[in-house]
Every structure is written in structure tokens, then in C-alpha cells.
Symmetry: C2
Subunit: 466 residues, 2 copies
């Protein structure tokens, strides 16, 4: 079996060929990491500036001000608002004038600023991204304007009941774990946010050791490294430089033997599910049913991938067939996993008529239990492997998929699985391992989240957990 590519942190200035030379990695003495993947024939490239800081990092257990919740996302917005040499309009035109796809996203464990550009535009994109990420001025006036924009973004999300259900599901299933918090904060924390807190967050967290630059497509690694080093001032005197040069950091991965969530996690056990209802006027009730899943480095993640494909991964999956195709109870029905360094989540989603919601919840739990009891068929097993192989190959045709894969491996466990190594892992999974992950998930405390008009649903909210 092919081993994953290991990404060591302790060898600065290392420039290593990975995967036969198509991928390369350089660790600068400052701790900055640059990873690239060349895609033959490509005439464009995706470039990402990734910072290993996300919403989960916002509030320490010592208790920061509530206004710090949402500050990672607030900061992400502000980095578009100007540097000493580029105002917001100039940043916007830099990308618009070349027809780039460019944006940023804040996640629970990282923040990413990215652009997809034609090959001739790579250097320009690197220059502007570097300036944005390291030299933002966080102007006080822009801060106030952006507060309004973010409040509108939260209002938009609040009007999207599937979005609301997703946020509630994380909160309910992960309890008081920092991963359970909404990424963007709340209207209250955004109204309370002060510019100096966000600035402190920027100065404390953005430095060469947390920054990872990845690129894929029409990329020449050595040239990109030169461009990046020229664009970033990496001298020790620079304000965004820290006092820990040369020590790249990586978020510690939880051990799979660590206890599960523990205090603050869901309180219910066994067959009884905790039910959380958010009543809103709606036609459909948005349902999420699930429990804690597998963290990013859990060896069972390959078995989970196959189980998830069979349970709710496509039109032929059990959930889609039972809920939509046989009974017409929903337009959408699927299952999913979300993995982080020290926790994970497993969920099943459907949007159904309120009066059918209880039936959909029962069917979803039953389908998981059926795999837990009887496993999957050989035909399903084979089909899932084909689905994973085909969809992975198609996804990897996009440079942004490859750019993201590099970053998630570097910011995550430090193990990079290329397509072949990954497919070998999936192929090695046994039928019993697949059944066992379903059994594990079915036995964990179940959370049901319903958002919408639940009055006719027959669902009854349980008491809030202690």
C-alpha cells in the first residue's frame, strides 16, 4: 500500500519533490510554507493564501470579550479594504480587470484568500494577495461600514433555513466545543466588535508560521517561491513577523483514543434522540439528524467514506431511494461527514413537508441502523468504490481542488494522500469495517435539529442539556 506523503515541519528551506515531482514544497526559514502542484496542459492556476486560524480559535477558555466571536470572519472582510498602497477599489480592480475568480472564506480551523487566474496573471495575483494578507490597515471608517455588510450577511444566512439548521446542528451536536460555534459570530457579537480586538487577532495570529501558500495549475514552483518571497517582506523586523522565526506551526490533531466530547457534549444516550426545534414560518421543515463523527486523522475515515456513499452519497443511495424515490417525501436527502483536527460530525439532511418530518427522521435513523446491523451488499460496496474513484478523478481536474488538497494536508495532519494512495486506502477497507462505523455512529447520542414550521410535525423538543 502506498504511504501518504509526509510534510515535515522541522526542515526549513527544504524544497522537496512530492509525488514524483508534480508536487513540490518549500519551507522558508521564517516558517512560511509554499506547496504547489503542476498540472500539465493547464493555462491557468488557483492560488490560495491559507492561514491556520479559524472561528474555533477566537475565544480562549480564559474568556475573551464576546465581541471577539466572529472576529476571524470580520478580519477576512477587512483584508479586502485596503493597505498603505492599495485601497479597497484598487484591490477589487486588480482582480476584476483580469477576470479572476477571487474570494475568501473563513472556516472553523482556517481562513483562505484565493484567486483563480490565467497563467499570465499569476504574479499579479500573488502580489495583491500578499499585500492584502500582510499589510492590511484595518481602517476605522472601513471597520464601521463593514460591520453593516457583515450584519447583512448574517441576516441573509438567517433567512436561509437550511443554513440555520446547519448552524444549529453544529451547536447541538458538538455542545460547548469551540467547533460548535457559528463561524460568523452573531448579530450581537458583531455589533459589539471593536476594531482593536480584530487588529489584535490579526497581529497575534497572522504570521509566517501560520501562513501556507498553495497553488495548482500552470505553476512553476521555483518561480512562485521567488514571487512570494519578493511580495512578502519576511525580514524579522516586519510588523507581521513574530518572534518565533523558523518554527512552522500545525494544529495538534486529537488522538482517536481521546474520549469523545465529554462535558458539554450531547447528554442523551442510546436510542433516545435529543430534539432541537427552531420554529419559523416555512413550507418545508429542514431536518438534520446526526451525531459526533470522525476526526480528520481517524483511520476509520476511509470506511466512513464508503458507508456514507452507500447511505446518502448519490441518487442510488439508500436515503435518496427510501425517502425520495420510493416515498416522495423530500426533494433532497443525503448524508455527510465533517472532519476537524480533534472532532468530527456526521449528519443526514432532508427537507420535507412538516407533517412528514417524523417519518423522515425515523427512516433516516432506520437506514443507518440497517447498515449497522447488516452491513452493505457487495454490489453497493463495489459501486461506492467506483463512485469515489470517478468523482475524485473528476474533482481533481479543477486546479482549485488540488490547491485546497495541498493546504488541508499541510494545515491538518501533515499527511498528503494523492489519488492513488487514497484509492488504495478505500480499496483496503473490509465489509466489517464499514458495518462497524455505522454501528459506532448509530450507538452514539443522536441529535435531531428541525428548523421551520414544526407545529404540525409531531416532533417534540427535548429539554435542553445541562
Amino acid at each position: 500500500m502506498r504511504e501518504p506523503i509526509l510534510l515535515p515541519l522541522d526542515r526549513p528551506e527544504l524544497s522537496a519533490d512530492l509525488s514524483g515531482g508534480a508536487m513540490r514544497r518549500t519551507v522558508h526559514p521564517s516558517g512560511l510554507r509554499i506547496l504547489t502542484e503542476r498540472m500539465p496542459g493547464s493555462r491557468s492556476a488557483s492560488i490560495g493564501f491559507w492561514v491556520g486560524v479559524g472561528s474555533r480559535d477566537e475565544q480562549s477558555e480564559r474568556g475573551d470579550a464576546p465581541g471577539s466571536l466572529g472576529s476571524t470572519h470580520f478580519l477576512e472582510h477587512l483584508l479586502f479594504k485596503g493597505t498603505p498602497t492599495r485601497d479597497a477599489y484598487s484591490i477589487a480592480t486588480s482582480f476584476d480587470r483580469i477576470g479572476a475568480e477571487h474570494n475568501a472564506l473563513t472556516a472553523k480551523e482556517y481562513t483562505c484568500y484565493y484567486a483563480k487566474v490565467r497563467d499570465a496573471d499569476i504574479e499579479g495575483a500573488v502580489t495583491v494577495l500578499a499585500d492584502m494578507v500582510t499589510n492590511s490597515v484595518l481602517d476605522t471608517g472601513e471597520f464601521e461600514t463593514e460591520r453593516g455588510v457583515i450584519l447583512e450577511e448574517l441576516a441573509m444566512a438567517s433567512d436561509d433555513l437550511a443554513d440555520v439548521a446547519n448552524e444549529r446542528f453544529f451547536e447541538e451536536a458538538l455542545g460547548s466545543h469551540p467547533l460548535g460555534r457559528p463561524i460568523g459570530g452573531s448579530p450581537d457579537t458583531i455589533r459589539e466588535a471593536v476594531r482593536d480586538d480584530v487588529d489584535r487577532h490579526y497581529r497575534d495570529r497572522y504570521d509566517p508560521t501560520t501562513l501556507v501558500i498553495t497553488a495548482a495549475g500552470a505553476i512553476d514552483h521555483d518561480r512562485l517561491v521567488e514571487q512570494v518571497v519578493a511580495a512578502l517582506d519576511l525580514s524579522p523586523e516586519e510588523r507581521w513577523h513574530t518572534d518565533r522565526p523558523g518554527v512552522a506551526v500545525r494544529r495538534p490533531m486529537g488522538s482517536v483514543d481521546d474520549p469523545l466530547l465529554g462535558p458539554g457534549g450531547p447528554a442523551a444516550t442510546g436510542a433516545e434522540a435529543r430534539v432541537s426545534i427552531t420554529n419559523r414560518p416555512s413550507e418545508q421543515l429542514n431536518l438534520l439528524i446526526g451525531t459526533e463523527g470522525f476526526r480528520g486523522n481517524d483511520p476509520r475515515r476511509f470506511a466512513f467514506g464508503i458507508m456514507n456513499s452507500v447511505l446518502g452519497g448519490g441518487m442510488s443511495s439508500r436515503l435518496f431511494q427510501e425517502i425520495r424515490e420510493k416515498r416522495g417525501l423530500a426533494y433532497t436527502a443525503y448524508s455527510f461527514g465533517a472532519s476537524y483536527s480533534d472532532a468530527g460530525l456526521f449528519g443526514m439532511y432532508a427537507g420535507s413537508a412538516p407533517e412528514k418530518a417524523a417519518e423522515v427522521v425515523d427512516l433516516s435513523r432506520l437506514e443507518l441502523q440497517r447498515i449497522a446491523d447488516g452491513g452493505i451488499t457487495e454490489e453497493e460496496h463495489e459501486m461506492a468504490l467506483g463512485q469515489i474513484a470517478g468523482s475524485s478523478a473528476l474533482a481533481l481536474e479543477d486546479s482549485d481542488t488540488r490547491m485546497g488538497r495541498l493546504a488541508r494536508a499541510e494545515l491538518g495532519s501533515g499527511e498528503l494522500y494523492d489519488l492513488d494512495a487514497s484509492l488504495e486506502r478505500f480499496a483496503a477497507v473490509t465489509a466489517e469495517e464499514i458495518r462497524a462505523v455505522a454501528a459506532e455512529l448509530a450507538a452514539r447520542p443522536t441529535t435531531v435539529v428541525a428548523v421551520g414550521d414544526a407545529t404540525r410535525s409531531g416532533l417534540v423538543a427535548t429539554e435542553p442539556a445541562e
Copy 2:
């Protein structure tokens, strides 16, 4: 200036090289048209079966049963439900087991069934798509189940206020024109739909003369034509064959000199806007402001493309800058055009706090008027050309974009613009032509649609048009 590639309908069995051989087109004697584009280096392909029938074709002026509204979309769902040799599960597994991206979409002037697959899976995908599109049994039991699924799809759309605003905008701006109707019908028409109406729609409208097959990526044209002809029974006796062999049809394009909408179109004129309000509980008010736009073959569409880019095409656009960046009134603000064979639509969208909605409406109209009065700057003009060139080049890296471009040209005006011919048209547009399209749009009757909690908005609905 390079001319567009003309796609003649009157030369059956013609197999023509287009654009130097990368694109090819074959018209079968039955009227079936097949167009492909080979993308060097690609290891996958996008394949679409397009039928030149959309929701606008559902109800003739003679007045069909109301149950026929939504029948195109209902039919699209049913084609996944089984043929004499494949049941719904078998169709689903055909695509899932190879990890294909596959789906279908119903639009106002066409319906498309598509798959994106690895190169080795092309023939299999063609076989299943052909079977689905030409041999569906429209089983009575499946019809009833699917009615439930479609009602859930409409319920989901009804809970999405931006979706609702979009539907309302088409209805209000296009009046009683068939393009103004919602694509999926309404819950009432879906509840009334009868299987035999949908079957009649299928038998009347799906035949070799309305079917266009396009593919892009790792495609060998001759082999694809062989595969398609083998998969489709094109003998005159076949039930899905019509009595008009060899006569491919194309929807007639409106002349740009045709009168505008006329009776049934928006009644307001001049500076006064018609305001339509749909009150729903919400945090944001979803706003659409616009008017009739340009049809698909209007020569002004290139000038419109540049005007639209400057007005609301990106983060540097005037709407984004004025509404979001300077004032923080919305998270999203953009403008768009939608073109059909004999009508078009122009709109500006923003989602804002209800109490800011009137300001956002005024700002949007003002920005359009500013271009109508003063045109755009040279810098904006140059930037828009760069944006169009860059984003077009990036989009054309995806085989599905190229697959769709072939189909829209074939089903539309019959003129295919490749990237160079299209960019030459944009480059030839004068500043005065850009100003003139803005002036034209600003002078047309304006429709404002607001969906959400409008009680605090200050917006007042006008009387419904006669």
C-alpha cells in the same frame, strides 16, 4: 472581424468542421443534431442531451388545461424514473457507480439532461442518457410519487426568498408573456397534473428534430456520432420519431425591430416604477429592480455585456462599490441580463435591511441613470474588456461550459461565436453604444420587486397592472 460560425439546418448528413476542426457538427437525416468540441489533454467529457422545449412552450394561446403548466419540468423528473429495460434505481446506479456528475435542468426555452464522466465512461453515459430521453415509460405509480417530490421542490423554492423574488421579477417584468411564467408551475398546477398530459407533451415535443446532443472534452466526434446513432433507434417506425424526418427545427428568433412586450407587459412608463411587494417574515428584503432587456440575437448584447460588467459585474462595479463598499447596505449587489429568443430581461439585485431598501432601490436606479447620462470612463471600459476576456477564458476551461455553448448556439440563433470572435465583438463596441444601452434600459418601464418583511421598508406597492 471574425464572423460567427453558422449552423445551417438545411443540409442533412452534413458533417462539418467548425473553428478549425476543434468543433464538429453532424446533422443526421432524421433531423438529430450532434455537435462536439475536442479539448486537447482532457481526460473527461461533458455530454448533454438538449431538447428545444421549455416551460414557455407549455400553454398555447388557445388555452391548454392549467395542469399542463409545469409539465416540462415534471417530464424532466419522470425521465429518471425508468424505461422498459432500466428502472429508476438502475439509471441512478449507472451514473453513481462511475462517480459521474449527472443531472437535468428545465429552463424556459430548453430542457437538458447531462453527465460529466471520465473518458472511459463516455459510451456508457451516452447509452443511458439516450435510453432515458427516448424510452421513458412514465409509469403511473412513479408519476404519483414524483408529484410529491416536485411539490417538495416547489416548497423548498418558496422558502428561499431570493428565489421567490426572481420568479416574481419575471412575472412582473414580462407581464403575460409565456417567458414570465415560473418554470416549475405552481403547487396548484402540479396537484392538478395528469399523467396523460405529460405523456402527450413528451410524445409531441421530444423527437429527433428537437433533440440536440452536444459534448466537449475528451471527445472523438465520429465515435460519438456512432455511439449516439447506435443508442437511439432512429428508424421512422420508432414511436418517438415524428412524421417530419430530416427537418430540424429551431425556435424563431424575434427581430430586434419587433415591438416590445406590448399588451400584457408592464404598464408604467417613464420615471415611475411599478412596485410589487410580497410580504414574508424575514431579516432581509430581497430586491430586484429592472426592465425588459435584450433578446439573444440583439446586436446590442455586446454593448450590454460591457455596460453590465461596469454597473454590477464584480467587486469593483458601481453597484457593489456604492451599495456595499461605501455604505454597507447589502452583502450582495449585482446586475444581470437574461436573454431568450424573442425577449430579454435586465435586473439589479440586492438583499438589504428592510429600512434601507428604499435607499438601495434609489441608488441602483441612480447608478443606471448615471451611465445613461455620462457613460463609463475609459478605465472602466478597458477593465470591463479585461474582465470579460479573463473570465471567459477561465470558464471555457470547463468542458460543461463548452458543451453548453454549443447547445445554446444550435438551439438559439444558429450562430456560434468562439472566444476570439466574441472578444472581437466586445472590442468593437464604442463608448457611445455602451451609454446608449444604459439609456435605453433606464428609459424603459421599471419594475421593482421586494420579497420579505417590507413593513418597515417605506416601499409602497403600486396598483396591479390591468
